[in-house]
C-alpha cells in the first residue's frame, strides 16, 4: 500500500512539475534614452512632400508663465500621481520611441495581412476589396511591393511631420514640463528638446493616418494605439495637453498631404492583369523560349504585374529604365544550365546551413516581407545609436523610399523579361514559391538597396550590412526559388537604386 501511495505521489509531483515549467518568451527590452544629438536644425531639413517646414501652420503656445500653462502643469501633476501600473507599462513601451514603435506596428500589420487569397470553388482567386477589408480574402494582401509602399509612406509622413515639428519646436522653444517645473516627476529621461508640439503626438497622428489608409480593417486597433501613444506622454509627465493636441493636428495635416501623393501614385493600376499578354509577347520577341507560368493550382495571376509603373521616389522613370539590368541567360545557354545544375545539386543535398539561411531570410507569407525585415534592422540600428525621433524618421524614410523604389524597379524587370522560375524545371523549394517571375530576385534587390542606404548612415556597420544583404540574396538560391544570376544581378541593381536614396540623404541639409 505504501508503495502504491508513493508511486501516486511521484506521478502527481512530476505532473505538477512539468505543467508549471516557465515558457515565457524573452524579447528584447527597449528602454528610453536621451538622444546623442537633438538635431536642433532639423526644421530646415529637406522634406519629401511638404514644400517647406512651415507649410502647415502651428499656433504659438501659451507662455510658460501663463495661467493656462500653469493649469496644464497642475493637471499633469494630478494625472501622474494617479497613474496605474498599466499606464506605466504603456509609458515604458512608447518610451522606446514613437517612430520605432509605429514602424514596429506597421510591420506587425504587414505580417498579419500577408496571406495570399485562397482560390474559390470556381478555381478563381478573388481580389481583396478595400471597402470590405475583413471579408475573405482580407484587404490588403500585404505582399512585398505592398509593404514596401506602406512603410515608405509611413516613414515619409513621419519624417515630413517631424521636420515641421522641429521647426516649431525651436521657433517657440517651449521647454519640457519637467524642465519648466522641477516638481513634475517624469517617468522617462527628459532631454532639452522643446516639447511643443509633441514629437510623439506628431508621429502618432501621422502614422495613424497612413496606417488607417493602408490597413483599413484595423481602425479599432489603430484608434487604441493612437490614444495610448498620446496618453502615455501625459502619464509619463513628458508633455502637457496642448503639446499633444498641437502635435496631433500637425501630424494629421502632414500625413493627409502625404496621402495625396499615395492616392495618385499609380498603385490603383498595379494589379492590372491585362498587361501580361503584351509583356509575354515582348519577352518572346526578345528571344525568351518559355515564359513564366504560375506553378500554383489553380494557376494564380502574377502578383501586381503592373507595379513597375507606380511612381518612384528617388529617381524618375527614365533613370529607372536606364539602370534596368540586361537580359538573363537564354534558357538553352550554358550559363543557364550551369545555374540550373547548381540548384539541382542543392535540391538533392541541401545542407542544414543552407536551409537555415533560406529560412532566416524567407520573409514569405505571414511575415513582414523583406522590406519589413530591413526596416526592423534599421529601426534597431537607430535605437542602438540613440538617434533622435527626427534622425530615426529620416533613416527610415531614406530606407523606405529606397525599398519602394527597389520594388518598383524590380517588378519592372520581372515583367519585362518574364523569366521562368526554377520550379518550371522540376525543382522543389524549402521556403515556398513566390507567384511571380524569377529574374531578378526581389529579395536581392531589396537587400542590395537597404544595405547600401543603411551602410551610408551607419558606416561602422556597412561591412556587416553588405554581408547580410549577400546572405539574403544567396538565401533564395539555397531555398531553390531563384537562379544564381537572378540574385547577383538583383543585388547589384539594388545597390544602384540605393545610391539615389543616399544621394538624396547627402543633400537634405541634415549633414548626416
Amino acid at each position: 500500500m505504501k508503495k502504491i501511495f508513493l508511486s501516486f505521489i511521484i506521478l502527481i509531483a512530476f505532473s505538477v512539475f512539468v505543467s508549471s515549467c516557465n515558457k515565457e518568451l524573452e524579447e528584447p527590452l527597449r528602454e528610453a534614452y536621451i538622444p546623442t544629438r537633438l538635431d536642433e536644425k532639423g526644421g530646415t531639413w529637406k522634406t519629401y512632400i511638404l514644400a517647406n517646414s512651415d507649410e502647415i501652420p502651428v499656433a504659438e503656445p501659451k507662455a510658460a508663465g501663463s495661467a493656462e500653462y500653469q493649469a496644464e502643469i497642475a493637471k499633469l501633476k494630478t494625472t501622474i500621481s494617479t497613474i496605474t501600473p498599466e499606464n506605466k507599462k504603456a509609458v515604458t513601451y512608447w518610451g522606446a520611441g514613437a517612430v520605432y514603435r509605429w514602424n514596429e506596428i506597421a510591420r506587425e500589420l504587414s505580417a498579419r495581412y500577408n496571406i495570399p487569397p485562397a482560390s474559390n470553388a470556381e478555381g478563381k482567386y478573388p481580389v481583396p476589396d478595400a471597402t470590405k477589408p475583413l471579408a475573405d480574402p482580407k484587404f490588403p494582401f500585404a505582399n512585398p511591393p505592398y509593404v514596401s509602399r506602406a512603410l515608405a509612406y509611413l516613414s515619409v509622413a513621419q519624417y515630413d511631420a517631424l521636420v515641421a515639428a522641429w521647426n516649431y519646436k525651436y521657433k517657440y522653444n517651449r521647454k519640457a514640463p519637467a524642465k519648466n517645473d522641477a516638481s513634475v516627476s517624469a517617468l522617462l529621461p527628459v532631454s532639452d528638446l522643446p516639447s511643443y508640439p509633441s514629437e510623439d503626438a506628431v508621429v502618432a497622428a501621422a502614422s495613424y493616418t497612413i496606417l488607417v489608409a493602408m490597413f483599413p480593417g484595423e481602425v479599432p486597433l489603430l484608434d487604441a494605439k493612437l490614444a495610448e501613444a498620446k496618453n502615455a506622454r501625459i502619464w509619463g509627465g513628458m508633455n502637457v495637453d496642448s503639446d499633444i493636441s498641437a502635435g496631433d493636428a500637425l501630424g494629421k495635416a502632414v500625413a493627409a498631404k502625404v496621402m495625396g501623393r499615395a492616392r495618385t501614385d499609380g498603385m490603383g493600376a498595379a494589379n492590372n492583369q491585362t498587361v501580361n499578354a503584351a509583356a509575354i509577347a515582348n519577352a518572346k520577341a526578345m528571344g525568351l523560349k518559355s515564359e513564366w507560368l504560375s506553378q500554383e493550382l489553380p494557376a494564380r495571376p502574377p502578383m501586381l504585374p503592373n507595379y513597375g509603373t507606380v511612381q518612384t521616389w528617388n529617381f524618375d522613370k527614365t533613370a529607372m529604365i536606364a539602370m534596368r539590368p540586361g537580359p538573363p541567360p537564354a534558357l538553352d545557354s550554358d550559363e543557364f544550365n550551369k545555374a540550373l545544375d547548381e540548384l539541382k545539386k542543392i535540391d538533392k543535398s541541401q545542407t542544414r546551413e543552407q536551409a537555415r539561411i533560406a529560412n532566416y531570410w524567407s520573409d514569405g507569407a505571414g511575415s513582414y516581407t523583406p522590406p519589413g525585415h530591413w526596416h526592423r534592422a534599421a529601426a534597431n540600428l537607430c535605437f542602438q545609436n540613440k538617434f533622435s525621433e527626427l534622425a530615426t524618421a529620416r533613416t527610415l524614410a531614406l530606407l523606405g523610399t529606397a525599398e519602394m523604389d527597389a520594388a518598383i524597379a524590380c517588378w519592372d524587370v520581372k515583367n519585362y523579361y518574364y523569366y521562368p522560375r526554377p520550379q518550371q524545371f522540376g525543382l522543389k523549394t524549402s521556403v515556398g514559391l513566390p507567384n511571380f517571375q524569377s529574374y531578378t530576385s526581389g529579395h536581392s534587390t531589396f537587400s542590395g538597396a537597404a544595405a547600401h542606404v543603411l551602410g551610408s548612415i551607419f558606416p561602422g556597420e556597412a561591412e556587416k550590412l553588405t554581408a547580410m544583404a549577400l546572405e539574403a540574396s544567396n538565401s533564395r538560391v539555397y531555398g531553390l526559388i531563384h537562379f544564381r544570376f537572378d540574385c547577383q544581378v538583383g543585388l547589384d541593381h539594388g545597390k544602384k537604386i540605393g545610391q539615389y536614396a543616399v544621394a538624396r540623404g547627402k543633400a537634405d541639409g541634415s549633414g548626416l
Binding site: L25, E26, R112, L427
Partner: protein, 306 residues
C-alpha cells in the same frame, strides 16, 4: 549464425515495417530481464485538413504522406517496471505542389511504465513517466513538411486497466505532455495574432485521453480504440496560411490494433483514422511492426541445462 539470421530479420523488418506497438499506453509488461526489440513501419496520409476548423483540401499539396521506421526496445527491469525506448526515422512528401520533402532521424523517446496497483479481480493501475528529445537539428517550422516540431517533451500518464480471465479487457488512459519551447531559424514569426521578435517559439502543452477494448490471450491481441489528442492552448491556422508549431492541433481518432506473438517472434498491425480535428490533417495511419523477444534468464537457464 542463428543470432545473425535473427538480427537480419530484425533489420529487414525494420526497413519495411511505426508504432503504437506494446506500448507506453498498454498494461502489458515484459518479464524481468527480458528484452523486446521491435521495428515498426508507419504510413500516415491526408488529403483534407482542418485550417482552423475549416475542412479543406489543398491542390498545392495533394496528398501529404509521412512515413517512418521506428526501432524500439522494451526491457523488463522487473515484472512491474518496464523501460521502453524508440527513435523513428521520418520522411515526408506531397503528391502535388513544390514543397521539398524532409527526412531524418527524429526524437528519442524513453518511457518507464510501472504497475502501481494489481488486484485479484483483474483491475490494475499503471503510471508512465517519459520524455523525448530531438536527436537531430531538423527544420521545425516548415510545416507540413517538417519531420517534427523539435520540442523536448515530458510525459506523465495514468492507465486504468481491467482484464477478465477470459482475456477480454478494457483500458482507459490520460496523459499530460509538457512540451518545451523551440528555437527556429528565423528571428521573427507570427503567432497568437502578433509578431514575436525572437527565434524562440512557445509550444503549447498537450493532453491525450483514450479508451481501448479488446482481447488478449496466448499471444493474440486485438483491440479497438478511440483517442483524442489536444493541445493546451495554442493558436489557429489563419485563412489560407500554412500551419505553425504554435497551432492548437487537435485530433480524435478511432482505430484497431492487433498483435500476434506465439513465441519470441511477433507481429503488430495498427490502423487509425482521424474522425475530427483542428489545425491538422485528417490522417489515415497504417503501421506494421515486427518484434523479437529475448529472455536472458531463459537463455542462461538453457545454457546451464546443456
Amino acid at each position: 549464425m542463428k543470432l545473425l539470421y535473427k538480427l537480419i530479420l530484425v533489420l529487414v523488418g525494420g526497413v519495411c515495417l511505426h508504432a503504437n506497438a506494446q506500448m507506453p499506453h498498454d498494461a502489458i509488461y515484459m518479464n524481468k530481464n527480458s528484452l523486446c526489440i521491435a521495428a515498426t513501419y508507419s504510413n500516415s496520409q491526408w488529403k483534407e485538413y482542418w485550417e482552423n476548423n475549416l475542412k479543406r483540401e489543398n491542390f498545392n499539396i495533394g496528398t501529404h504522406t509521412t512515413q517512418s521506421v521506428m526501432p524500439m526496445i522494451a526491457y523488463g527491469i522487473t515484472k512491474k517496471l518496464n523501460l521502453l525506448a524508440g527513435v523513428p526515422y521520418v520522411w515526408t512528401k506531397t503528391s502535388a505542389g513544390n514543397l521539398m520533402s524532409q527526412k531524418g532521424i527524429q526524437d528519442l523517446s524513453v518511457f518507464v511504465k510501472y504497475n502501481m496497483v494489481q488486484t485479484e479481480s483483474g483491475l490494475s493501475l499503471h503510471g508512465v513517466l517519459g520524455g523525448s528529445v530531438p536527436l537531430t537539428n531538423y527544420v521545425k517550422d516548415f510545416l507540413p513538411m517538417s519531420i517534427g516540431i523539435g520540442s523536448k517533451t515530458l510525459t506523465t500518464r495514468l492507465i486504468a486497466h481491467y482484464r477478465h480471465n477470459s482475456g477480454f479487457y478494457i483500458t482507459a488512459h490520460g496523459s499530460y505532455f509538457f512540451r518545451s519551447n523551440i528555437k527556429v531559424d528565423r528571428d521573427a514569426y507570427q503567432a497568437d495574432d502578433r509578431v514575436y521578435n525572437t527565434n524562440e517559439v512557445r509550444i503549447p502543452n498537450a493532453t491525450d485521453v483514450a479508451a481501448r477494448a479488446g482481447y488478449y490471450k496466448k499471444g493474440i491481441q486485438a483491440e479497438l480504440f478511440i483517442d483524442k489528442n489536444t493541445c493546451v492552448g495554442g493558436d489557429y491556422i489563419r485563412r489560407n496560411d500554412m500551419p505553425f508549431p504554435t497551432n492548437n492541433m487537435k485530433s480524435t481518432g478511432v482505430g484497431f490494433y492487433g498483435k500476434y506473438q506465439p513465441k519470441n517472434i511477433g507481429f503488430t498491425i495498427m490502423a487509425r483514422r482521424v474522425i475530427d480535428g483542428e489545425n491538422m490533417g485528417q490522417a489515415t495511419t497504417l503501421s506494421a511492426g515486427f518484434l523479437y523477444q529475448i529472455n536472458f534468464k531463459t537463455k542462461s537457464a538453457e545454457t546451464a541445462k546443456q
